[in-house]
Each structure stands twice: as structure tokens, then as C-alpha cells.
Symmetry: D2
Subunit: 173 residues, 4 copies
């Protein structure tokens, strides 16, 4: 069994320019467990949502405030690798790092470990930036700047290339 | 927006030897929806579990019976592509096909569409065959045979190569 | 152990004027089970929501259509008696009857049994009729009429007394 | 609208001998919200489970440890009054008090408020003490003593009357 946080971190990011990952702690409840006393596979996505929400708050752009200014980040992809079972009452440490950022997209990598340093789950999610109509919408410069600082580990030196808006239908989730 | 079932099927399988995908219908409830009236991203994994469960039943190896004979199929990987939002009261059609099978592993591909032929989600899950101790366990020949028929669309001509048992620690989910 | 459907029905309604209860079938998934292989206590409320949704559809007033005409039925009370455990893959029969109806409220009683006639759960929910602003709103006569037929088991002979609108703040759930 | 914590407390307990309620804080996630941006009615039971779990830990009898010594507390009744809607990102304060205790039963009352002192929900749950076979089992004296201290707000002066074991079938949830 691989060792926990260290290895998870190594897998998640290795560039020296990257900041330390954001950390979130989560206690496993009965609601999250299924037959056999382990966390049900869908429930990890709820835990990642909680970690991501606290990441946005820590960065200075809480999702509730972004939503008020008509900006949402629906998920377009999720990839999960289940490495070991988490059990009732386990305390989980979720590490979050930004792995991609432009004014239309943000991607996260996650490593979930328990307090015995066992890696439970690694995963990635990719999100599009959208308006309340669920259509792609470029994030405002100030939001991009905050997220970019978290992405690069330093104040953003220059704006990232502006991607073209896809001629999109509605976007999901 | 891509058209639904046809395209989903094309993506899921194109070999002529493959059987038609198993289909499962699901009605979206309020419990599954989140802010903005769309299905929450974790909930699709619950819907896929339901579809998979009915697939196992249709194949003649219901999971409840397998569990009684000490065989479980924990998920080790899940990959989800969210294509469009599903809404409250939508009826969803879930297509399930087996994409990998040996005596230790089974993988599924899924396509979820609504009744307006919009692709909602495509995904894959990979499962290991395990005993109640959560350690890898080769599936019995008769179980393999049933699943292989579903996999190949014809009675299995010869047993698949038997993979070596990984020296595994416990397996998750 | 009490016998199932009969007793549940007896508890739920005994007036001869009442129609047979609406029935909904539900298959228990792993997502709904917790440690010890039984349905997690919150999950029954999701199953009751599904049964209630199908009841509204059967009566001719699907909730999705009501929502479009700006009518919602938030829950204001729920009471649950857990009688026995439901297990993975159990098929549950949910019986639904209307036990209270006026133009601002509707209440339901539920009996959940398995196919071995064991009563799993009995419960009640009380709902207020509200607009999209979550403020109380009297249901339109045609909606009331459909529900009243289900309530009384016969075409409503005369409108129920119209309750006064409470000076309400927002209403929940 | 009633004012929050004060009123909730008044409703929950008024005896001077009672200790201050245990408090648990919970942040509302998207996973918990449904259409219309409010917490889905079943999700409160998950939040109450979390609060109850932390209560047991605070009292010195964590549920995970009790489970290891073959003691579980399945719910046999739940009563919920939904007073106002909780929204995404709301921080909720859950107050928990023990309202009934004997060696076979424990009941809790709950008050959930937001940080603007609005009462969101009040509720009660009743639990039976059971073994892993789901049959009633008297709680050991030391567990009873810890819980009784929390119940009475003082070291338990004498053991509560021992209820007779019901000739029970299996017990749920």
C-alpha cells in the first residue's frame, strides 16, 4: 500500500512553482457508507465538491458570491481512481490543486487520504465557466487573477491567453 | 448538440460481434437535482449503479445472489463526461455494455440520454472481482460464462486468459 | 411481526369512502444502504418523494407541470416510524393515501412493505401549497378538484372550505 | 419569523437541571440542495446524524467505538418540522439535547438555525439500543452513565429503571 500524503502530493503536482495544495478535512458519516462499511463510490464526488467549495472561499472567490454575480462552474468531466476503502468515522484529508486554468476552464486534481496515510482516492474534475443560462461565459479578470494566483503560486504575471468561446449548446452540471 | 441514442451507441461500441446494449430507464427525482434544476454530478453514479444492477440481473447473475456466494464487484475507476443537463422529471435511458472482461475484472461503458435523444452523460467504470474480505478473487467459471455471453454477444467459445491475482491489499468501493 | 400490506392499509385508512391507496414499487440500491446492509434512515424520504411524484402524475397533475404553472408543495412536516430493515435488492411497495386536503395543504400517509409482507416503514408528510416565491398560494380549483377526487374516492361534491392565507414568511423545503 | 437559537432552545428544553445543548456546525453544499436552492428535506436527517455522531464523541462514547463493542443505535422514529429554507453555503448550527434515556432507548431533540438566527428545522429522533444482530440489547452501565450525565447535566445519581427487553423481532435502521 502506498504511503499517503507524500505520494499523493507527488502524483498531483511536481512543479516547484506550484503552491502547496489546499487541504480540507472531512469526517465520514453513516450516510456516506454502504454495505460492507465503506464509503459509497458516488459520495466521494460530494466530498470533492465540499473541498472545492472551501478552496474557492480560501482563494477569495466563494462560489456563493460568484453565483450572485452570475458565474457558475459546472463539471464537464470527472475521473476517479479508488485506491482503498474509507470507513465510517474515518477522518479524510482532501488535497486540492488547480491543474488547468484559462478564462473558460478550470481543472482540479484531488488526493484523498486517511489519517493513517493511506491513499483512498485520486481524481480530477474539469469545469467550464458559465452564466446562469448554462452557456459558456469568460470569467471576469479579477476572478481569473485570484484563481491564477492559486494556480501558479504567485501573483499572475500576465493574463492567460483568452480562449475562444465555443459555440456552445447548454453546458451541464 | 449530438443526437442521442444512435450516437451514444456508436461511441460505446462499434464491433459487429457485440450484442445490443442493455437498457435501463430512470425517472429523475427532486432528490437528485441541485440548484439550477439539474441532476447533481454525483447522482449519475447512483443511476449507473441501478442500471448495472439490472444488467447483472438480466444476465442471470443478480448481485444479491453473487454477494450471498461471497462475490462483490467494487469499483476501482470511474470516468464521467457530462454532456448536457438532465432535469427534474426527465426520463433517462441508460445504455450499458461490457467493454472488458477477465476473471478478475469487468468494465462497463454507459450512455445516458433523455427521451428527446439528447446525450446527457457518457462514462465508464472498472470493477475488480473480490471476496467479502475485499481481496481480489477470481470469479467462478459459471459467473464468468454468463458475463462473457453478454460481453461477446454469443456463448463464450473458450475461457478468457486467467489473469494473475495481484498481491493486493484490500480493495475499495 | 405484523403482517404487511393488510395491516399497513388498515393503519393508513379505514373509511369506506376512501379509494384504494396508490402503489409504487421501488428496488433498493447500494446507494441507499449503509453499514449493516439496511436502508439508511434518510433515504426513505427520497423513496416517499418518488412515490408521491408518481401519485401526482397518476392523479393527472404531474408536479413538473404544476411547477411550470408556478405551484410547488414544500414539505412542512415529516413523521417516520421505522418498523423493520429493508435490505439491498429488496423490492419495496409504497402505498400512498391523501389524509388531508384543503386549498393550502395536502397531507399524505405512507406504508412501505417488502414483498414478504413485512412492514418496513409508516410515515406521514404535510405540505403547503406555495408559489415560486415560496409564499403560500391557494391551489387553483382544477388542481384541487383532481386531488380531492383522489382524497375522497369520488368526484368532489363541493369545494372544501377555503383556509385563510397565513401571513407567512417564506416556506421551506 | 421566530428568533433563532433562543427560541429553539426554549422549545427543546426548559428544565433548569438540563445542560446546555451540544452544538454542531454544518456548511450547506450543492449536494444537499435541490431545485429552488434549498436543502432537500431528506438531507436534514444526514445533518442530524452528523451532529448526533459528534455528540456521542463529545460525551466520551464515540459510535465507532460502541460499534466495535457491538452496540448500535438504530432509529425507530423521526419527526421533523421544517420551519424555513436553508440555502447553499449557509452555515447551520445544530443543537442537540437528550430528551429520553433508559438502558434500551435514547431520544434526541434538535434545533437547526442559520447564522441569521432563523430557525430552519426542529426535530426528534428515537433510537433503540441493539446488538449487531439488530435485536434489542441493554446498554452497558458505563455507556449509560456517560449518556446519563449528558442527559441530566450532572453525574447520574442512580441507575435508571431497567426496562424489560421487548420480545423483539429485528429492529431497523
Amino acid at each position: 500500500m502506498r504511503s499517503g500524503i507524500g505520494s499523493a502530493s507527488e502524483r498531483l503536482y511536481c512543479s516547484t512553482r506550484m503552491p502547496a495544495p489546499f487541504r480540507y478535512r472531512h469526517r465520514v458519516s453513516f450516510a456516506e457508507c454502504t454495505v460492507g462499511n465503506h464509503v459509497y463510490y458516488a459520495r466521494y464526488l460530494e466530498i470533492l465538491e465540499r473541498a472545492r467549495g472551501e478552496f474557492f472561499r480560501a482563494v477569495g472567490t466563494p462560489l456563493a458570491a460568484l453565483q450572485t454575480s452570475e458565474l457558475i462552474f459546472p463539471v464537464i468531466e470527472a475521473h476517479l481512481h479508488y485506491e482503498a476503502a474509507a470507513r465510517y468515522d474515518d477522518e479524510l484529508i482532501v488535497e486540492v490543486v488547480v491543474t488547468e486554468l484559462d478564462r473558460l476552464h478550470i481543472s482540479f486534481a484531488y488526493g484523498v487520504s486517511n489519517t493513517r496515510n493511506t491513499i483512498i482516492l485520486t481524481g480530477r474534475t474539469r469545469h467550464i465557466c458559465a452564466g446562469p443560462d448554462e452557456k459558456p461565459r469568460r470569467m471576469p479578470p479579477e476572478v481569473f487573477k485570484e484563481l491564477n494566483t492559486a494556480f501558479t503560486g504567485a501573483p499572475a504575471p500576465r493574463p492567460a491567453a483568452t480562449p475562444r468561446l465555443p459555440k456552445g449548446p447548454s453546458f451541464p452540471v
